[in-house]
């Protein structure tokens, strides 16, 4: 139950723009959709993976950026629950 509450909290913190979506899409299930599309999904998959690879470098060049902060905050929130 605590885990569920934490998950809901995490979700609400990270997806504020999608308040209309009352359904949890499942991170893995969303990513799978790119693979399921086969060839048509290749370009998206490539771009997505490229961003993942280059992300750490972008982050290290701007550690104080506001983007990095929320990644830590909810974890503490989750544990505090």
């Amino acid at each position: 139950m605590l885990r569920f509450a934490a998950a809901v909290l995490l979700y609400s913190l990270f997806f504020p723009a999608s308040a209309f979506a009352y359904l949890d899409p499942g991170t893995g299930s969303m990513l799978l959709q790119v693979l399921l599309a086969g060839l048509a999904g290749l370009a998206v998959a490539w771009k997505y993976l490229w961003k993942q690879v280059t992300r750490p470098f972008k982050r290290s060049s701007g550690e104080n950026s506001s983007e990095a902060k929320p990644n830590e905050e909810p974890e503490t929130n989750g544990k505090a629950q």
């Binding site: 995490l10 899409p25 499942g26 299930s29 969303m30 959709q33 399921l36 961003k51 909810p74």
Partner: protein, 465 residues
């Protein structure tokens, strides 16, 4: 105005009942969305085909809605009898899944999305599936993946796969968890060999692994995918593939079993042809004796008498605990385009309970409609002698339905009763025709009675007092 206790998950709207009609209250966003969606060609076409429940904006509840801060209201066509996926046979869940995918595909063509994939959003007019949750349609946010893909798998695809690949009826699973079969559970139920079957590796194995891998992720994958160029065509490809996959799933029972099943059910029926005709005539005249708004056929088997009742009754709900018998009836009715018989998988000794949040999300069978006539043909001996339900309790339950009854009492001289008692201690002293007649007359009046098969079976038409 009475709130529908099962309508709360999507906060943007709520179903209510007023003077026997069904309405849906909408908040301002949902109202604006309804006006946009209902003006699309897709929505108009789907309404016309009857794929979406007949719906129109109404100001009949204007006072009520403003008092409760709703922005507006819709009026829906009333569905004759609400049923749940755990009461459907294989073919029904499959056809409901295909309707969902067809509507999604058509909606996507016009830049729309269905925001959830709940199987409860589909109901039935006879054997025709109808999508009832109009606010589920919304504008597709460019770059967004199919949010309800996982729910589609849990509520439609996995139950169908388990039934098709493993021969496991999904009814108990869906009744056990009203949100469907989670991917990790489905994954554990499949064996290594199953991963070579269509759809299992990608939709079950990969999805389960990915879900596990990213379960603690706090990344905004939706935005990441969007910025990586995710587009509607990818969803359409997936939906088309799913359509193909679902269409190819067949009930996990071979043709031989089917024909055996037929043979067994015929041999189980100990009637001669003449007696069968007499029974059919008795049922027909009982149904015709007054206008019947709804007939329940309990223990309908392959629905011979349900179809007789449907000749003159407005609606018939045909129930049997055997998913195969119901499947057979569903396919027969579908071919005949019969519009007023709803076949359901229901075990009368353990009928669908009230469940979900506060026991109000899904209703008991008895709370979903009032039959005017109940058929219980070749039913009571199974309930008393196999399910061990005391006869007085059974009669008490039948009386609580406050309907006229057509019942068949199968005496101890009947071969089927002898067979049922063969390996059991006979402690069913209550199972006598005298006791039955005494009990039935507490709440009903026997209008007519006919003996069949050398008095081995007796039919009663009883009128509620």
């Amino acid at each position: 105005m009475q709130h529908e206790s099962g309508s709360f998950r999507d906060r943007s709207n709520r179903v209510v009942y007023h003077n026997g009609e069904v309405y849906r209250m909408l908040d301002s966003d949902a109202l604006a969305s309804w006006r946009d969606i209902s003006a699309t060609e897709f929505f108009e076409r789907a309404l016309k085909r009857g794929d979406i429940v007949a719906t129109a904006e109404t100001d009949q509840l204007a006072a009520e809605s403003s008092a409760r801060k709703w922005a507006g209201a819709l009026k829906h066509e009333r569905i004759p009898f609400v049923s749940y996926p755990y009461e459907w046979c294989f073919g029904m869940l499959k056809d409901a899944a295909l309707l969902h995918l067809d509507l999604l595909l058509e909606a996507l063509e016009e830049g729309l999305m269905i925001k959830d994939s709940s199987a409860y959003n589909i109901q039935w007019r006879g054997t025709k599936p109808v999508f009832i949750d109009t606010p589920s349609f919304e504008k597709w946010n460019s770059g967004e993946p199919w949010i309800a893909y996982r729910q589609f798998c849990e509520m439609f695809l996995f139950p169908l796969m388990l039934a098709s690949y493993k021969g496991v009826p999904f009814n108990t699973y869906l009744r056990g968890d009203i949100d469907g079969i989670p991917v990790e559970v489905c994954s554990r139920l499949l064996s290594f060999r199953d991963y070579f079957r269509r759809g299992c590796f990608s939709h079950v194995y990969l999805q389960s692994k990915l879900q596990k891998r990213y379960s603690d992720s706090n990344r905004d994958v939706k935005s990441e995918l969007s910025s990586a160029g995710f587009h509607a065509e990818l969803i359409k490809i997936n939906v088309r593939k799913l359509k193909k996959l679902v269409s190819g799933l067949t009930i996990g029972i071979s043709k031989t079993t089917w024909s055996d099943y037929e043979a067994v059910s015929i041999s189980n029926d100990t009637y001669t042809e003449g007696n069968q005709q007499q029974k059919a005539d008795f049922v027909r005249s009982a149904v015709l004796s007054k206008p019947q708004s709804m007939v329940w056929d309990l223990g309908c088997n392959t629905g011979v008498y349900s179809r007789i009742a449907a000749e003159s009754a407005e609606q018939v709900v045909a129930m049997d605990f055997d998913p195969l018998a119901v499947e057979k009836l569903y396919q027969t009715l579908k071919q005949a385009s019969s519009g007023n018989v709803l076949p359901l998988v229901v075990n009368i000794a353990n009928a669908s309970p009230a469940q979900g949040w506060r026991g109000g999300e899904r209703k008991r069978l008895e709370d979903r409609g009032k039959p005017s006539l109940v058929l219980g043909l070749a039913l009571m001996h199974h309930l008393v002698l196999s399910a061990n339900v005391p006869l007085d309790q059974l009669m008490g339950w039948l009386a609580s339905l406050q309907a006229d009854l057509v019942l068949e009492f199968v005496t101890r001289h009947d071969p089927m009763v002898k067979k049922l008692l063969l390996n059991k201690t006979d402690n069913y002293s209550d199972y006598t025709i005298e006791n039955f007649e005494e009990l039935i007359q507490q709440h009903h009046q026997i209008k007519s009675r006919v003996e069949l098969n050398n008095r081995q079976r007796v039919l009663y038409h009883c009128i509620a007092r």
